[in-house]
């Protein structure tokens, strides 16, 4: 949902806004930052927003009477409205600021989950989930007895929806699914899943940590109940994230964290919770970071989603082409057309850590490991993979640098 006018996406120009992209590593190598699925870098506009809030407008929020407090409250609430428009939520109070995707999902599991699930109920997940959308449900299962079921992955890295009707029954209380896998880049057919969930009366939670930074989000058109994402994966500060929740749902959910700001009244005997969104924002929030997230949204909104997607697809295709030529290298997951800008791969006889280490020695930053998705790796029979992930500031030249460095790794290990 960006309605304002946009400017064409020129990655070289974009890079001018990111101070860190101009540094070198190991003295001589210009940084090639391909770890965007883990976290993204910040443009000077976001850094400047942090400085300016701190130097001009900072105080605690929650409607203090004095000028600074009014200013920081205004900035904080206007960041909430920016988020609202960005994902097209119906109302600002449907936006809860959290620390990140992880806290957002835990909030739903503890508040909605504890109050609404029990033995005999089921929650439907997928085999490709990030631990953030897996462990909170394991914990919930241990508390309430709700049972977890999983949509399996096909060999090509796409969800196997053939058995969806078996898996999604009238015992299913919630379907919690990632809008984009952080390992394979897989984009599941959300519309089909939401329709199926609606037909059985299950709620839908979307882990959109990898989606929101890269593609347009419209919670109303999608008709989802909860959506979670993180500021630090979309050019914003670390330490802030969002839980979107439908007003009717949030309004009925019991509080999660208890403390200042989330109450209407407290006595020695008990307390009455406040209305949303305050009810779910106990304590001093990450004020400056939330305002910075609003600035990141402004920055992203300069560009059209079409341009961002086309650019990332171009890089992903190039990566598939070049990496596909390297002997012994296998790319995990679907073809570029069916996924986001994420390329995870394994070498037949070279461990992912050795790959990442040697790439770093040439300035290329990638991740190695299970990327917080152990069940997915088990599914594909690999212990660890190497992952390159792209964003709007990456260039084709950088993909070439990745491919060349990978070929050198192969030769180094005499494969």
């Amino acid at each position: 949902m960006s309605t304002a006018e946009t400017v064409p996406l020129d990655p070289q120009q974009v890079r001018q806004d990111f101070p860190i992209l101009h540094r070198t590593v190991h003295e001589q190598y210009p940084l090639v930052y391909l770890d965007n699925a883990a976290t993204t870098q910040r443009p000077r506009q976001v850094i400047q927003s942090i400085v300016q809030t701190s130097e001009q407008h900072y105080a605690n929020v929650h409607r203090g009477i004095h000028t600074l407090s009014e200013q920081s409250t205004d900035l904080y609430e206007s960041a909430r409205q920016k988020v609202q428009r960005f994902i097209n939520a119906a109302r600002p109070e449907e936006i809860i600021f959290t620390r990140g995707t992880t806290e957002s999902i835990n909030l739903v599991a503890r508040s909605w989950g504890d109050a609404n699930t029990g033995p005999g109920d089921e929650i439907l997940l997928t085999e490709m989930e990030h631990h953030a959308n897996l462990v909170p449900w394991h914990q919930l299962a241990a508390r309430t007895g709700v049972k977890l079921r999983f949509i399996p992955l096909r060999e090509d890295g796409q969800l196997d929806l053939d058995r969806l009707e078996d898996l999604l029954t009238d015992r299913t209380r919630l379907v919690a699914v990632s809008a984009m896998s952080n390992v394979l880049g897989t984009v599941p057919p959300l519309e089909r899943i939401v329709q199926a969930a609606r037909s059985t009366g299950a709620l839908v939670l979307v882990d959109a940590a990898q989606w929101v930074p890269h593609r347009p989000t419209d919670v109303q058109a999608w008709d989802v109940d909860f959506l979670a994402f993180s500021g630090h994966k979309m050019l914003g500060p670390s330490g802030v994230g969002v839980l979107y929740g439908r007003r009717e749902l949030l309004g009925q959910m019991p509080p999660f964290l208890g403390g200042g700001g989330m109450i209407r009244r407290v006595t020695l005997e008990g307390f009455e919770p406040a209305d949303i969104p305050a009810r779910f924002e106990a304590g001093t929030p990450p004020i400056v970071a939330a305002i910075g997230l609003g600035e990141a949204i402004d920055y992203l909104s300069r560009f059209s989603w079409e341009d961002i997607h086309a650019h990332e697809l171009r890089l992903t295709r190039l990566a598939h082409e070049l990496l596909g030529e390297i002997p012994g290298l296998r790319i995990l997951g679907p073809e570029p057309e069916h996924k986001g800008g994420i390329v995870s791969f394994v070498f037949e006889r070279i461990h992912a850590h050795d790959v990442a280490y040697l790439l770093d020695r040439r300035g290329v930053a990638v991740r190695a490991g299970h990327h917080c998705a152990m069940p997915l790796h088990k599914r594909f029979g690999v212990g660890a993979s190497t992952r390159a992930s792209f964003y709007l500031y990456n260039t084709e030249e950088e993909v070439h640098r990745l491919a060349e460095a990978l070929d050198q790794v192969r030769q180094f290990f005499r494969q």
Partner: protein, 152 residues
């Protein structure tokens, strides 16, 4: 001293309502009453109304405690609604209350201003004795809750 224009929210007419409020006290022939508070700043307002059988608010009284804004606003509101029909008072919305107050308020002070208005709206549906006229269901959510204030 505070004579500069920035003190405009404490204009003379507001201070006068604060210091010499209109109809602070009990309504001798009250038919309706309601009370509520804003726990976050400790303000509370109690409203008593005399509504005649034709549905006209004949008399309006308030009592309470709180900041200058909340108490002056209550006083101004009591004065304004006398002689109005229940329908007219119902249609008197939050915006109208802020306009009546006459001074631009920041969001945090708006809720002070709106407390008596909220209580009044509820009072319309809070008859003192259960009568057969009790066909008007307890109005829900007519008054939007202002944003919570809770100073850390």
């Amino acid at each position: 001293m505070f004579s500069s224009p920035e003190e405009e929210i404490y204009q003379e007419h507001i201070l006068e309502h604060y210091e010499e409020p209109y109809h602070r006290g009990h309504c001798p022939r009250a038919t309706h009453a309601h009370e509520d508070d804003n726990p976050l700043c400790g303000d509370f307002i109690h409203v008593e109304l005399h509504i005649d059988p034709q549905g006209v608010v004949r008399e309006a009284y308030f009592d309470g405690e709180g900041c200058c804004i909340s108490q002056a606003a209550a006083s101004m509101l009591m004065e304004a609604v006398e002689g109005k029909t229940v329908e007219e008072v119902e249609q008197f919305r939050a915006e109208d209350m802020l306009r009546l107050f006459g001074v631009r308020l920041t969001p945090n002070r708006q809720k002070c201003c709106l407390l008596s208005w909220k209580v009044l709206q509820q009072a319309l549906y809070s008859p003192l004795e259960k009568k057969p006229q009790d066909d008007s269901p307890q109005q829900q959510a007519a008054a939007p809750e202002p944003p919570a204030e809770d100073t850390p």
